[in-house]
């Protein structure tokens, strides 16, 4: 971790100036059903879900395992076709865009699969430029600059020439984020980005996200299990349970003891802190 990450409270511009006014992402009554066989009853369903997000906004999707968080993220990413409803990004239906156009507007950070052959960090980040060039194209100077900048933005500039398989978990996650930034997206999707990271790396990553969404007006959607980090960094919380979206709203409105206890099935305590963001304490059975 670089020392600059250590600064305690992330500096935030006032809410009104930070968030854009227009709606960038509109999820409209989106539902999905998954069955192993079309003639069988579905194994999993996502009931109609709606929410909206503005430029610069961070939305956290919370919920226990198998509550439909990742499915919802895949639907927003456009790689799954919704059963009904639609997802609009700046007015166009995401699922009907070509994979290339989609990748120019939406970037996804997820748990990485193993690399088959070794690659340098800069080569890996350049993959983010794929959707912006033809299939047979050679990388331009612009691509190199964008990749380089993306690495610097996540504080990983010095990792440029390292091998991907020699990075620590936190370094690797930042490089993966840099690849997503190199796509120059409007919408940044993250699937449990803090999994396997130590606490400093988790905070570092979320600080970086906060900074980036403010400066570049990315709309960020993040699926996470970290209740307190979500409360600290998200502008909006989507609470999922059993394939249903229970509530959408700012953390202070969602973090109610009864609601969270019902969803997560653990006794817990919710305190409201000075800056209007709640904190959750899990109470061990006694």
């Amino acid at each position: 971790m670089s020392p600059s990450r250590g600064s305690a409270a992330p500096r935030r511009p006032p809410e009104s100036s930070r968030l854009g006014t227009e709606i960038r992402l509109a999820v409209e009554q989106v539902s999905y059903a998954y069955a192993s066989n079309p003639s069988h009853a579905p194994l999993f369903t996502l009931e109609a879900t709606s929410f909206q997000a503005r430029p610069g906004e961070i939305v956290a999707i919370l919920g226990p395992n198998a509550s439909g968080k990742s499915t919802l993220l895949q639907l927003i990413a456009g790689v799954l076709p919704p059963l009904s409803g639609r997802v609009l990004l700046n007015g166009s239906v995401i699922h009907s865009l070509s994979p290339r156009t989609r990748a120019q507007r939406i970037a996804m950070v997820q748990q990485e699969s193993r690399l088959l052959f070794p690659a340098r960090v800069w080569e890996f980040v350049l993959q983010g430029r794929h959707a912006h060039g033809g299939s047979l194209r050679f990388e331009s100077r612009d691509d190199m600059l964008i990749a380089q900048n993306a690495l610097i933005q996540v504080g990983a500039g010095e990792l440029r020439d390292r091998w991907m398989d020699q990075l620590s978990g936190g370094e690797k996650q930042r490089v993966v984020l840099a690849r997503a930034l190199a796509q120059r997206p409007l919408l940044l999707l993250l699937d449990e980005p803090t999994l396997h990271l130590d606490i400093a790396a988790q905070v570092g990553l979320l600080d970086a996200l906060r900074r980036l969404s403010a400066h570049n007006h990315y709309t960020v959607i993040v699926v996470t299990h970290e209740l307190n980090l979500a409360a600290e960094y998200a502008d909006q919380i989507l609470l999922m349970h059993g394939g249903r979206c229970l509530r959408v709203g700012p953390p202070a409105a969602i973090y109610r003891r009864e609601l969270l206890e019902q969803v997560f099935q653990v006794p817990l305590k919710v305190e409201m802190r000075g800056h209007g963001r709640p904190r959750v304490t899990i109470l061990a059975d006694s």
Binding site: A77, E112, P118, Q127, H130, A131, S135, L136, Q148
Partner: protein, 346 residues
Amino acid sequence: MRPLTFRKLVFECFFLLVILFFVVVVALKFGAVPVSLYALGRDLLRVLLGQSSQISSDYGLIIQNIRMPRIILGIIVGASLSVAGTSFQALLRNPLADPYVLGVSSGAALGAILSLIAEPHVALPPAFGALLTPLSAFLGATVTISAVYFLGRRKGQIESNTLLLGGVITASFLSAVIVFLMSTVNSSNTRGMVFWLMGNLSTSFQKSIYWVLAGGFFIAAGVIYATANDLNILLAGEKEAMHLGVDVRRVRFVVYIAASLLTGLAVSVSGAVGYVGLFVPHVMRLMFGSDHRTLLPTSALGGAIAVVVADTLARIVVAPNELPVGAVTAVVGAPLFIYLLRRRFA
């Protein structure tokens, strides 16, 4: 941080082309009948000057009608198998994939051997009779590839591991059938069958066949090369590739068909030459990196070099007899592959 440039690509290909040229010259020189380098150079010059008629007849016969066609066949077979191997490795995200492992070569060998068994019993016009074996081999390869493709499909999607295992099982099943046929069917042509099983380049074909092979190679390899950047991304994983803007379904379908066609073309004229599609891409990856924009053309050239060298060895090691070229590629290829593998991880 130095990205791939067109100049670098051309330079690397030129380097391999020079090696291929020397290999071809050596392959022309060596054989059961020795030919001096001087005579070779003189004849080459005469061909270039359009004075082919001045070439002395016995040398000319050996060079033009025996060795050169065989070398050209070796170049096409080697290039096709290597490009197919590279493509299958990227497509299935598995460094062990190659036409031989996927059972395609065994399918072709079975087709060829069936035709050798049937040949004496059916009366065919001689023009078609000469093509019977390669056509049967091509048919065998096509049927096997389709069978393995359907074995590897689950819920309408290709599953790499299932496909690879399906290929391995198919290959061992087909080998068993071949051994069964060879030990039960009373045929005068057992030696011919062994050659198909191990791969050989000694069959000579009409000129038009070479044009068909070369044309097929350039079309299929060109189609694969057009997806070079997509294949690079596919190596990072299918889900990631989707999010990075690769039309995974289309790329997989197109490359699978093209790589299968390359394999079918190669095995229909040479039988099951193993290891080329496996080790050439790996050697090229270690030399030039795993970027498919470089890897595909360098693998094609490297494969051509490897097969021409192997075939030359096959011709001269036990001269005036011959080894099947597949035996040479296996004997040389397997230890080389192990060495490279160990050095990589040392």
